[in-house]
Subunit: 259 residues, 2 copies
């Protein structure tokens, strides 16, 4: 799971990040010995790193078990990261408008070299709330946003993704590379992606690409909801609205051009 480019940059910083991401991955508290095993290093080393992170508030230590978990300062930093991403501000009114038009939950996700991260959402009108967690990374092969990223994003993404197994979440999850490639080809032609039942049964999302001045894919807008309300085949007007929203946000970012 740990990236292969751990050799570029500072070793101890990489280790600290590895530790933080380990704590972020597991939802339980983790002790020093276990971390040392999982990270492939020694107890003493991990201890020093935890000391440092503890002093800064990025991890907390349970009084009783002496195990560690992520601390509030990490939350603080994370929120700042969202605030500093100007796409979020720029897109906000368009997202609200799209939610108003469709009544469904709308989500903005950023694309980076590691995949897609949800940065902002506006909840739909339905009393049963269906949404996505801000700050979560989506699976690339089984989410509408992820497929947009694979189809239009950095080729590096697709390349490094092909070496992995495609995790299966439901019977409808795409499982073979050839199926995925066919799907991506269709997405490149239509300009939108959906993922009905692929991550969770009964849930669908339709996503469209957002580009910046340079024409590179930087984000996606998506409508998320129950499969009976969000369906590309039965709601052409919804697709229209999503694509139009993506266009507007792209234009706001300085993108010019249609292809």
């Amino acid at each position: 799971m740990t990236s292969s480019d751990n050799d570029i940059g500072l070793k101890s910083v990489h280790l600290t990040i590895d530790a933080l991401e380990l704590l972020s991955r597991e939802q339980r508290d983790i002790g020093i010995s276990e971390m040392a095993n999982l990270l492939g290093t020694t107890k003493g080393t991990v201890f020093r790193h935890m000391q440092t992170l503890l002093a800064r508030g990025y991890v907390t230590q349970s009084e009783s078990s002496h195990r560690y978990r992520l601390g509030p300062q990490a939350a603080c930093l994370g929120q700042s990261a969202i605030d500093h991403t100007d796409i979020v501000e720029r897109a906000r009114p368009h997202l609200s408008a799209l939610r108003e038009a469709t009544g469904e939950t709308v989500a903005l996700s950023l694309v980076d070299q590691q995949g897609v991260v949800i940065l902002s959402k506006v909840m739909g009108k339905s009393p049963l709330e269906i949404g996505v967690r801000v700050g979560s990374r989506l699976a690339l092969h089984s989410s509408a946003q992820g497929k947009i990223a694979l189809a239009f994003g950095p080729s590096l993404l697709l390349a490094q993704y092909e070496r992995q197994d495609l995790a299966s979440f439901t019977p409808h999850t795409i499982e073979t590379t050839s199926e995925l490639k066919a799907a991506l080809e269709r997405i490149r032609q239509t300009g939108i992606a959906e993922a009905p039942n692929e991550y969770m049964l009964g849930v669908n999302a339709i996503a469209a690409p957002i580009r910046d001045r340079s024409g590179a894919l930087v984000a996606t807008v998506a409508v998320v909801g129950s499969i009976q309300n969000v369906d590309a085949r039965t709601k052409p007007e919804m697709i229209e609205a999503i694509v139009a929203t993506a266009q507007k946000i792209s234009t706001d970012l300085g993108y010019v051009g249609n292809v």
Copy 2:
């Protein structure tokens, strides 16, 4: 601004964190030279740190200006931190209930050795939304939650806070240490704190302490809203509700006892 305990722990990790927090503090992108100045180190060093953070997605570099800003991975980590804090889950139903009872925005904030961080909120019913940012740290002397932290929290907090100047946000902000001490004394007696007009004119908050099994202050619940709806003197039933909510959450965390 940088903590005095930068000598405990790993130097390069501290520097990386310093850099991240610098980027989080300023809302503009920052170049390497400027960071080196602000952090009291050299360009080369900062460059290596940015390389590392770049490879991991915690910062992004602008194509054009080559300046740096916080990246999406930081947002990812931050959200995980919130998800891993079980108080958030435990408190959720109580917060919703309190919002239902009062109609106002309700916020849960965690207390750590550096102050208070908002971790969760439920927006009020008023069409004009008044709230607080999740992930933001509040001023200790001019927010209801901050004063709760100073009054009941780790004495270390108060001690290190006395050495600082009390920033003034409005004409009503407490500015002298003696005033603050008097206010804290009152808060210790009544068990609740408010901060009318102290951070922003027209806005008030009323907060109560949440304790864990050991009896230590770990969090606060607060109602936030316009000063005409949220006022400790005219709404005794609101205070009742807040204190009761804090009690319930404390009990859920294993706290026993009244004082």
